[in-house]
């Protein structure tokens, strides 16, 4: 698993970008996206995924089940 951002919900507030311990989040085409190859679900860094914790819109940073769970 990795996390992904539901583009239609994202307000472009930039808050998640600065918090990601893996620099997995960046702005692309007017919204923010998570690079699944870099996202570790914050495992090894924080108890909770930072993007989920800071995002002002509920259910915007969500699990992307397409990817297998991150192995620390």
């Amino acid at each position: 698993m990795a996390y992904k951002i539901v583009a239609s919900q994202c307000t472009n507030c930039t808050a998640c970008e600065a918090l990601c311990p893996n620099l997995a989040i960046s702005e692309a085409k007017g919204t923010f996206v998570i690079d699944p190859a870099k996202c570790t679900e914050c495992i090894g860094h924080f108890d909770t995924p930072q993007c989920v914790a800071i995002c002002p819109v509920d259910d915007t940073c969500v699990v992307d089940a397409v990817y297998p769970r991150y192995q620390a």
Binding site: T11, C13, T14, A15, T48, Q50, A53, I54, V57
Partner: protein
């Protein structure tokens, strides 16, 4: 005229007519008040007499803090800080926040470089622009890099521009020293409670030490940080203003306690604003039907707190990307594209000359309006409100039908005191649906005995009279306070002679809906 705006209005070949710019400024719908009882005044009836000299020096030209200054000087906000670290029930981050002067995060975002260029462009075009604020769209201190870089860039080129910022206070203690370093002299903290029991109903969560905290725990940390931050500002001599949003049934009574808590920690001004709440805002409060206060409820609370400290009554809850004098917004002239295409020559000398002329005008006005207090004893304990249609400069100079807002003065034995304003613009976008404009106005000033205008048509005159509000055009183009008091003396005489019976007026409604950028 936007394309033609050339920043340097003092150059020999201005592409924009300076007279045109000044005319625009003169037309602004601001409050031209001279303050309470014959003295230049700040934020409320309080003025130099009851405000320490050094504070008065700092705030007297600040359009957000001095009700007298704000039609002479302008402020602008730049939206460089989109991220936020708390969630408030009156805010929906997708849209403009009506309560905390923030545009929605979907609005234009500026980089520090763009922002500083914008500030210099505006300052060179509008010599009144003396204050730069960063208030959002999120929390400036949740975006410290962008916020302080913007301050740094501006202070390098334009050290005469005052810097201020507004914050929810959560991160404030961490940044007080940086704030001092950039000589930020005004910090506004939004404090809606000092008791977590109350706070948990206002703040669903905060982001704290890499976790999302909720409920009582979150509100407890928030209030501790806010008050600590306030104390640290006071210690360093940085002016702190407190904003509070009045939420009936949640913190309305509690705000008296907030007022005491912030006053004892050195806040110099407390601004209590009405909650602006409607379902279409998509906020928690908007959706759950939480109402805002009525005009009477708001004024009662402001009066109750005023005994303790300076209250600010003229706040229009303008947006974080606003440009212009309070109550007007010229931000459309300064979009990023236009600014980046501008060549900016910062004209410090020209600005200074302009500001000196303004100072002279202000002094003259204070002199011109003395006296008028004699013969008011007959008022006894009577206090009545009157509404005034004005374009600014302290004069009754707006047509009733053109007024986008009315200034409210309280008349009593103590004289005429500015106590606030009622906006009547955008009535169709606001909360009053399809009703006609006149109904909107009557609702907004229903607590007033009279309305002073430069001119008024026959129909509205009759309708106002029927509603018990006396329309008065006899003082067109005269000073507001002198005129209001002259009328008040006549009113008192008639009451004494038994010609009329003094009655109390009812309550008035506060228009709901944010002050939009392209308000028309």
């Amino acid at each position: 005229m936007t394309e033609a705006l050339i920043p340097d209005t003092y150059s020999s070949e201005p592409a924009v007519d300076i007279a045109d710019v000044m005319q625009k400024l003169a037309e602004h719908k601001g409050c031209g008040t001279e303050g309470g009882s014959g003295k230049a005044s700040c934020g409320s009836s309080a003025g130099p007499a009851d405000m320490p000299e050094e504070i008065w020096e700092k705030v007297k030209n600040h359009p957000c803090y001095s009700e007298e200054a704000h039609h002479h000087y302008a402020r602008m906000h730049v939206a460089v800080a989109p991220a936020c670290n708390i969630q408030c029930n009156y805010c929906n981050r997708k849209y403009d926040c009506a309560n905390e002067s923030r545009p929605g995060v979907v609005s234009e975002r500026l980089t520090p470089e763009q922002a500083s260029k914008k500030v210099l462009a505006v300052a060179s075009t509008i010599p009144q622009m003396t204050v730069l604020g960063i208030a959002g769209p999120g929390d400036p201190l949740a975006n410290p890099g962008k916020t302080f870089e913007t301050f740094r860039l501006i202070s390098e080129v334009a050290p005469d521009i005052k810097l201020c910022l507004s914050t929810n206070g959560l991160a404030l203690p961490d940044w007080v020293d940086e704030i001092a370093k950039y000589k930020v002299d005004h910090v506004t903290i939004t404090i809606n409670m000092v008791d977590p029991e109350v706070g948990q109903h206002i703040y669903p969560w905060i982001f704290w030490e890499n976790k999302r905290l909720q409920g009582y725990e979150a509100a407890k940390i928030l209030t501790e940080r806010q008050l600590l931050g306030l104390e640290m500002l006071t210690e360093r001599g940085i002016l702190a203003k407190i904003n509070s949003v009045m939420i009936p049934g949640i913190n309305d009574k509690h705000l008296v306690e907030v007022n005491k808590a912030v006053k004892s920690r050195g806040a110099f001004l407390h601004n209590i604003m009405p909650l602006i709440s409607a379902p279409e805002h998509g906020t928690v409060f908007g959706l759950n039907g939480q109402r805002g206060p009525t005009a009477q409820e708001l004024k009662a609370l402001q009066d109750e707190c005023e005994g303790d400290m300076n209250m600010m009554r003229h706040c229009r809850q303008c947006r974080a990307d606003a440009v212009g004098l309070l109550g007007e917004d010229r931000s459309a002239e300064f979009t990023t594209d236009k600014i980046m295409a501008m060549e900016v020559n910062y004209d410090a000398e020209g600005r200074k000359a302009y500001q000196q002329a303004v100072e002279a005008e202000r002094q003259a006005k204070v002199e011109a309006k003395k006296s008028e207090l004699d013969g008011l004893d007959a008022a006894g304990d009577m206090k009545i409100l009157v509404a005034v249609a004005t374009k600014g400069h302290g004069i009754i100079n707006e047509h009733f039908g053109h007024a986008k807002e009315f200034q409210i003065y309280e008349l009593s034995a103590k004289g005429a005191k500015f106590v606030g304003h009622r906006r009547v613009d955008l009535y169709c976008k606001g909360g009053y649906g399809e009703e006609d404009a006149l109904d909107t106005v009557i609702k907004a000033i229903n607590d007033c005995h009279a309305v002073f205008v430069a001119k008024i048509g026959g129909c509205p005159k009759a309708d106002l009279t029927a509603a018990g509000i006396e329309p008065i055009d006899a003082y067109a183009h005269e000073f507001i306070e002198q005129s209001a008091l002259a009328w008040f003396k006549g009113y008192l005489a008639k009451v004494e002679a038994g010609e009329i019976v003094h009655t109390e007026r009812g309550d008035a409604a506060i228009r709901q809906g944010a002050l939009l950028s392209q308000a028309s």
